[in-house]
């Protein structure tokens, strides 16, 4: 069945950068992953980035991703509501994963610059994407470019490459996801491309400044409703409003939560929060090369998370 794709209209709201639960042997716990998406859906979030930055996307093989994808879709999550993280240094691997996931109904794919070689030229980067697009050889799919900025040595596609790609493939390259935490980095992308395509920021504290219509959020795994309120720019979610007392706004809670995570490895920290929330210890597993929490760090973080006091409607 053809799927109507309109990125400008459809790529909005909060897209959690879904944390991926693992078994003790570090294979994907597909049942728990489906259950996590279901819980987020029940809290009102309906679109998901699977195997993104927080979803340890560069650490799983295409086969692992496809198997998890099949489980998630069979559990009732609609393929059209998924954005799939594709990270590969080989264009043929990237194209293979995209085609296979397309067969399962997925139409949106997130692809960063190739991860292995640094200092690649504009022309070479453009060739990489051209190769992916020609080998996928399909019309009705969407490519979102993942600008990793300072979070990865893979870095960014230069503006000139993005412009060329947009010119050659206006119906395929339809959005940018900015992983960089510096707000000016996102502002530059919005200035250059924001009038044509959606730019999604991943750094939650910047959202209240940028006021975007879409965000990709790792924190939304833990506090989806806070992110929903920030994106909708509506009322505080904290119920404890009292006359004369400061009203805690959603973005204040984001800052509090970022302070809780502090300098700890963020993916391990957020997984610990889910482990504590669901009382499911297996949530704590991360896949190398993600750093684990030290014993002391884990204890301190658990105390800090208790102090953060996750509220009912967050």
């Amino acid at each position: 069945m053809p799927i109507n794709l309109s990125a400008k209209n459809d790529f909005h709201g909060v897209w959690p950068d879904v944390l991926v639960p693992l078994h003790a042997d570090l294979s994907i716990d597909e049942a728990r992953l489906s259950s996590h998406l279901r819980n987020l859906s029940a809290k009102g979030v309906e679109k998901f980035l699977l195997f993104g930055h927080a979803g340890e996307g560069a650490s799983f093989s295409a086969e692992e991703k496809l198997s998890a994808l099949a489980h998630v879709i069979a559990s009732g999550i609609e393929a059209k509501d998924l954005l799939l993280g594709v990270y590969a240094s080989s264009f043929s691997d990237a194209a293979h994963l995209i085609r296979k996931a397309y067969e399962q109904g997925v139409r949106r794919f997130l692809l960063s610059a190739p991860l292995f070689y640094a200092h690649t030229s504009h022309g070479a980067l453009l060739d990489f994407y051209e190769q992916v697009i020609s080998r996928v050889n399909l019309n009705d799919w969407q490519l979102f470019v993942h600008q990793l900025g300072s979070t990865s040595h893979a870095g960014d596609l230069p503006e000139v490459t993005l412009t060329e790609l947009r010119k050659s493939h206006p119906t395929i390259f339809v959005g940018i996801v900015d992983q960089d935490k510096h707000v000016n980095h996102t502002v530059d992308l919005i200035r250059s491309f924001g009038s044509e395509i959606p730019i999604a920021s991943c750094h939650e504290p910047n959202l209240s400044i940028l006021k975007p219509s879409v965000c990709i959020s790792a924190l939304a795994n833990v506090v989806p409703n806070i992110l929903r309120h920030i994106i909708a720019n509506d009322l505080p979610v904290n119920g404890s409003q009292m006359p004369g007392m400061k009203v805690v706004k959603p973005d204040d809670r984001v800052v509090e939560l970022m302070n809780v995570i502090g300098e700890y490895p963020p993916i391990a920290a957020m997984k610990l929060m889910l482990a504590q929330h669901h009382r499911q210890g297996d949530w704590e597993h991360v896949r190398p090369p993600q750093a684990k929490l030290s014993k002391e760090g884990r204890e301190a973080l658990m105390k800090a998370f208790n102090t953060f006091n996750l509220l009912a409607n967050e």
Binding site: S35, S41, A42, K43, G76, I77, G239, A312, N313
Partner: protein, 68 residues
């Protein structure tokens, strides 16, 4: 997803409860923490039991002075 006939495990007033989608809709939004959603009442109850057992163990450990 359609949650019409599904079941939830929630925490309300420091207690775990299994509650239907319909009943959940009648609760004030800030009166509970939604922990997990399930297709069947049985699955939800089994999760509630697991959580209760963990709480009991924690309470026993606290009484015995053992670390959590």
């Amino acid at each position: 997803m359609n949650f019409q006939n599904t079941w939830y495990v929630i925490e309300r007033n420091n207690r775990f409860e299994t509650i239907s989608h319909e009943a959940l809709g009648l609760l004030p939004a800030d009166s509970f923490v939604m922990l997990e959603n399930f297709d069947t009442h049985r699955e939800a109850q089994s999760e509630q039991m697991r959580l209760l057992k963990l709480e009991l163990e924690d309470a026993k450990n606290k009484l015995n002075g053992a670390p959590k």
